[in-house]
């Protein structure tokens, strides 16, 4: 920022009034220009105070746009915040951003800038030629060019950008529960909260604004004869003192989900600076997502004023009437000098009264009604303000700022201008078409809103456990709003079991109001399609003509019209435009508004920063990392890790050889040979382990596994295969008989939790009569696998267990001490070598592991990881569930009939399915070995297999490679694969055409590549 630039004067700031602190001045920049404002300002009010008319360029036509509203419904003032790359925040509404010192903001759209915009030219030239669907229609051919077009269209359109650097702030989630959640802290919300709070219920109040109080903060009305904001302050003070109440200002209820689950996006430090300021050495959380489970929801979200749709209604200087009042009364800013007000109702009159009281000129009030009457109308007359009745502003003149209003008599029913046009010079046009209840949150639940003729708006449909009160319910008179709020609060608390306490409703003025008239589009002298643009949805540049065109092109459903025109899309979610748009569609289709219906509003109500969505679940806390008791050792040894489920398992241990770190290929080859020739060690602690106890444990195993268990003796282990009832393999592992009624089941690493649930499922739902219990003991045991010809000698040095081959046989287990620690040792093998799996209580694991290494050096003890484990087991043809199987493979497909107890008495899980015609098919994909003709070739896992490589494309594919490695002991590539009818094809040649044009040849062989007789594990 250049120091030499002069701060401009806040020329539109009033000398007094408003809720800003004039004793302090804040500096900020917008599009590089320095400005000043005060604490209490929003960025929008400060920009208006400084006379900044153009805040953006429009999305499609690139027209200059100014501030229209004062709250969440603002369609134009969408800015990009941040003075540094890391602090960039897109899609912030200037009306919702509190001003802080050194705030830096830019327009979201506009290229190269908002004042001189290149696309504006396109908008002007192409304006007539850019109907809805323009982009689809124009740029879709040829389809291949879309990516090119898109780049430029997106750049020109733009909706902000995300930061390219790390966010220095932290975000989190808060799990909340309450009896009553009040959304909105205006008149309705505060009275509801007060009533609920006094009952003793757990109450939360969320309000999206900087200050709670809603419309009470800028109301002309009094309560108990005092300004309304004083009552709000008293209520807030009482609520803040209640232990059972949580007040959340700057908090948007952004989504309303099933069963009264509401997410609240709380902006904790956004009003203080770009990044959270450090407090007592700790950086507070910038933004927080409250995940609230609510007993009773009270929606007190109020209503948005509906703008009138007239020609040129998007030129800067066109504002909502209510926004004009808010800027004057709350922020001490008059956003212009000469006002023309166009209204269809009494409420709009407040803007003219406030304008006049601020000392500025009201050129005229243009009222669509023939004979307006009511207290505010009379007040305006008394002030001497000119009122033009039966008329409307039909067009705003001006390009970068309103210069005049064209006013004429209109005939609403005939939809035409019915009198001469007069032009009134002015710089501001305020419009009011009545109110639209803010039904967005209620819509999130899927409940359809209901149209009410008396208020000319939709009120929310309500699901169980929610009430609406005040503006959102179509109740606008202050006294009624307060009464409804109290009633809702009492009812909600009572439903949750809390007795009502007295709440005195403050007395409000009883204002006489004249009836409003339904005016959703102001007629122009020219037909809509040929006249100047009348904007319905300013953010998405949707015009009345666009909607009319959509209906002419045959779109009748409002949901289709929405998608064709983009009305109510994106961050806008139809806050200002939807009702007018639907009404215009209804007129064009000659239907009623409720017949056309409303579109569905979706979360989020306003944009939510990704930080708050992600919370703390990012970086190294993105997902749990599960470690074994030996993790420290693996890290220190320099292991590379592989993710297996959530576990971090050593993948391989690269060593430094001749000053160079081994490649994975080198490390794995070294590890493989160490196991085959000496002894290796694997941390197998991640295997799932389930403790099974009970007199029926054996029977249960027989039902859940494919193979037999009735004769497994104490001290013995057995490999088992598990199927689902469709006959497809789902898990495998070794189960050991610890005692007659006690078994230890192991599962695959990834399957542990699911298999425990699977066992419980069958026990609880089908066989509750079996006396058996299952408990997970996965984490209790650490498992160290020593394997290789030297394994026995090594273990013998540190155990009291008799390791003699005849007394401790293959598939036996024994208990004793290893390195002084009580251990269960299982003689099972996944490598084909002599193997002992040592299990000790995990807290002792490091001691035992280190002792093994102390003694193992002389035997060449080598740690190996999962990659070596995979190679070694594949050499032996041992399957890995999830690699050789994919949920469509039966035990027979795997050639594992030896593991199927066909004659077991109980029809075990999966048995019946094995006799279905499909599982009996002879051309099912069956597991085979593949030996590449060229031993140097390592086939690609997943590569498709064909029988005839000369066949025209598409070639019939007969299977694919499931596992493929280089075998150091065989010095050759080898693979496992599934091939149609493969078991009958031993010796045949198959082909694997690759993406690079090469075709590999391979011979179908046995799945066992090494030690086919299985002698080595028995030594």
């Amino acid at each position: 920022m250049s120091q030499s630039k002069q701060h401009k004067q806040q020329v539109f700031r009033l000398a007094t009034g408003g809720r800003i602190d004039r004793t302090r001045t804040l500096s900020f920049t917008f599009n590089g220009q320095p400005y000043q404002g005060h604490p209490g300002d929003t960025l929008a009010s400060a920009l208006l105070a400084n006379g900044v008319d153009i805040v953006n360029r429009s999305f499609k036509y690139s027209r200059p746009r100014g501030i229209v509203a004062a709250g969440a419904e603002e369609p134009n003032g969408i800015v990009q915040l941040g003075s540094s790359e890391a602090a960039q925040v897109p899609n912030v509404r200037a009306t919702q951003q509190a001003l802080f010192n050194d705030l830096t903001a830019r327009s979201t759209n506009g290229w190269p800038n908002v004042q001189r915009d290149l696309m504006g030219l396109v908008g002007k030239l192409g304006g007539q030629f850019m109907p809805p669907g323009f982009y689809y229609k124009t740029f879709m051919a040829p389809a291949s060019m879309w990516l090119t077009y898109e780049k430029y269209i997106r750049k020109a359109a733009g909706l902000g950008r995300s930061p390219m650097e790390d966010d220095p702030d932290s975000y989190d989630h808060f799990n909340q529960h309450c009896d009553v959640l009040v959304v909105g802290a205006g008149a309705a919300g505060l009275s509801a909260a007060l009533a609920a709070a006094r009952s003793g219920a757990r109450v939360m109040v969320a309000d999206e604004q900087e200050e709670m109080g809603g419309s009470l903060l800028d109301s002309r009305e009094t309560l108990n004869g005092e300004p309304a904001d004083q009552w709000a302050a008293q209520v807030l003070e009482e609520l803040a003192g209640c232990e059972n109440v949580t007040l959340l200002p700057r908090t948007t209820a952004n989504g309303y989900h099933d069963h009264n689950f509401v997410t609240l996006h709380e902006r904790r430090t956004e009003h203080l600076g770009e990044t959270a300021p450090v407090v007592n050495g700790h950086r507070p959380v910038r933004s927080r997502m409250h995940r609230v489970r609510v007993g009773q929801v009270i929606l007190a979200t109020g209503a948005h004023e509906r703008p009138l749709v007239y020609a040129g209604n998007d030129v800067p200087g066109n504002l909502l009437a209510g926004a004009v009042s808010t800027y004057i009364r709350r922020y001490g800013v008059v956003p212009g000098r000469q006002l023309v007000l166009s209204t269809s109702n009494d409420y709009g009159y407040r803007a003219a009264l406030d304008w006049k009281e601020a000392g500025c000129e009201v050129v005229a009030i243009v009222d669509a009604r023939e004979a307006p009457k009511g207290d505010w109308v009379e007040a305006a007359r008394a002030q001497g303000i000119k009122i033009i009745t039966g008329s409307a502003v039909i067009e705003a003149k001006g390009s970068n700022r309103v210069t005049a209003a064209r006013v004429a008599k209109i005939d609403i029913d005939a939809f035409k201008v019915s009198g001469p046009v007069q032009e009134l010079a002015c710089d501001t046009i305020a419009s009011s078409g009545g109110y639209s209840p803010v039904i967005h949150l209620a819509s999130h639940t899927g409940a359809r809103p209901t149209w009410r003729d008396d208020i000319l708006g939709f009120v929310p449909g309500l699901v169980k456990g929610v009430q609406a009160c005040g503006g959102v319910n179509g109740t606008y008179a202050l006294g009624d709003v307060l009464a409804e709020g109290v009633e809702a609060g009492i009812k909600a608390a009572a439903t949750m079991g809390y007795a009502a306490q007295t709440v005195n409703i403050p007395s409000a003025e009883r204002l006489q109001q004249g009836a409003a008239v339904a005016l959703f589009q102001v007629p122009h002298e020219k037909p809509t399609l040929r006249g100047p643009k009348q904007f319905v949805d300013l953010q998405n540049d949707v015009t009345a003509a666009g909607i009319e065109l959509a209906t002419r092109e045959g779109f009748e459903s409002i949901e289709h019209i929405k998608r064709y025109t983009a009305m109510g899309f994106g961050t806008d979610q139809g806050k200002l435009g939807n009702i007018n748009g639907m009404a215009i569609a209804a007129r064009c289709l000659n239907r009623s508004i409720p017949e056309v219906g409303t579109t569905v509003f979706r979360p989020n109500y306003t944009p939510v920063t990704f930080g708050a969505i992600v919370g703390r679940h990012c970086r190294d806390l993105f997902d749990p990392e599960r470690y074994t008791a030996l993790h420290q050792w693996h890290v220190e040894r320099g292991a590379e890790f592989e993710d297996v489920g959530q576990w971090k398992r050593p993948w391989y241990y690269p060593e430094k050889v001749n000053g160079k770190i081994e490649t994975m290929h080198q490390a794995v080859a070294r590890e493989c040979l160490a196991v085959r020739e000496k002894v290796g060690i694997l941390d197998a602690s991640t295997l799932g382990k389930i403790d099974i106890q009970g007199p029926d444990a054996r029977e249960f195993l027989a039902r859940i596994y494919t193979n037999k268990w009735e004769k497994l003796a104490v001290g013995k282990c057995r490999y088992g295969l598990m199927c689902k009832d469709d006959g497809m393999v789902t898990d495998d592992g070794v189960t050991s008989c610890l005692a007659e009624n006690h078994f230890l089941m192991t599962t695959t690493t990834g399957g542990a939790a699911a298999i425990l649930e699977w066992l419980e499922l069958w026990h609880q739902t089908e066989w509750p009569e079996l006396d058996v219990y299952f408990s997970s003991v996965t984490d209790h045991w650490a498992t160290m696998t020593i394997t290789g010809p030297e394994a026995r000698k090594l273990l013998a040095e540190i155990t009291d267990i008799d390791l003699d081959r005849d007394s401790f046989k293959f598939m036996d287990w024994r208990s004793g001490k290893v390195a002084g620690v009580p251990a269960r040792v299982f003689r099972i093998s996944f490598t084909g070598e002599l193997t002992f799996e040592i299990n000790v209580q995990a807290n002792y694991a490091m001691h035992v592991w280190q002792t093994l290494f102390k003694h193992g050096e002389k035997y060449g003890l080598t740690p190996y990881g999962t990659e070596t484990m995979h190679v070694l087991r594949a050499e032996k043809g041992f399957i890995i569930v999830g690699q050789e199987t994919d949920g469509s493979v039966t035990p027979e497909d795997l050639g594992m009939q030896w593991c199927v107890g066909y004659d077991k008495p109980f029809s075990w899980i999966g048995k019946r399915a094995l006799t279905r015609s499909d599982t009996k098919r002879e051309n099912r994909k069956q597991l085979v070995g593949l030996r590449p003709k060229d031993p140097k070739v390592i086939l690609e896992e997943g590569a498709q297999i064909v029988l005839d490589p000369k066949h025209a494309i598409p070639m019939p594919m007969v299977g694919h490679v499931t596992s493929s490695y280089y075998s150091p002991i065989l010095d050759s590539g080898f693979a496992l694969a599934v091939v149609k009818g493969g078991h009958q094809k031993l010796g045949e040649t198959v082909y694997l055409p690759m993406a690079d044009g090469q075709t590999h040849e391979a011979e179908i062989v046995s799945t066992v590549f090494y030690d086919p007789k299985g002698e080595r594990q028995h030594v």
Binding site: D258, T450, F520, S592, I593, P594, Q764, T765
Partner: protein, 113 residues
């Protein structure tokens, strides 16, 4: 995000603690070998997908690890009851009046725009 009453824990718990396990009251045939392929296929693969009242099995996976049943309305997502394994639902599609669904969509007369 459902809020589910676990009949074993006696409390409502967040959906994250539960796993859905599909349609409730699917019983494994007592004599699978006597089923035709078609009957066995029905048991394995075919499930109801009603618009309205539906019975589902869930498990309180992060909690008491017990399986139980839920009667849920598939349009409103309202959970009408939960009951223990082995018990029968007290609310069924036949027993429900259909006013709940009728209320979901309403087209009223209104002003012409």
């Amino acid at each position: 995000m459902f809020y589910i009453y676990c009949p074993y824990c006696g409390e409502h718990r967040e959906e994250e603690e539960f796993h859905p396990k599909g349609q409730a009251h699917i019983e494994r045939p007592k004599n699978p070998e006597e089923c035709s392929d078609e009957e066995w296929g029905d048991y394995l693969f075919f499930r109801d997908n009603p618009r309205g009242v539906h019975h589902e099995m869930w498990v309180h996976a992060v909690g008491c690890r017990k399986f139980f049943n839920i009667t849920r309305h598939t349009v409103s997502y309202e959970i009408l009851e939960t009951y223990k394994m082995g018990e029968q639902p007290s609310i069924t599609a036949e027993g429900q009046n259909h006013s709940r669904e009728a209320a979901a969509v309403s087209h009223q007369e209104g002003v012409r725009a």
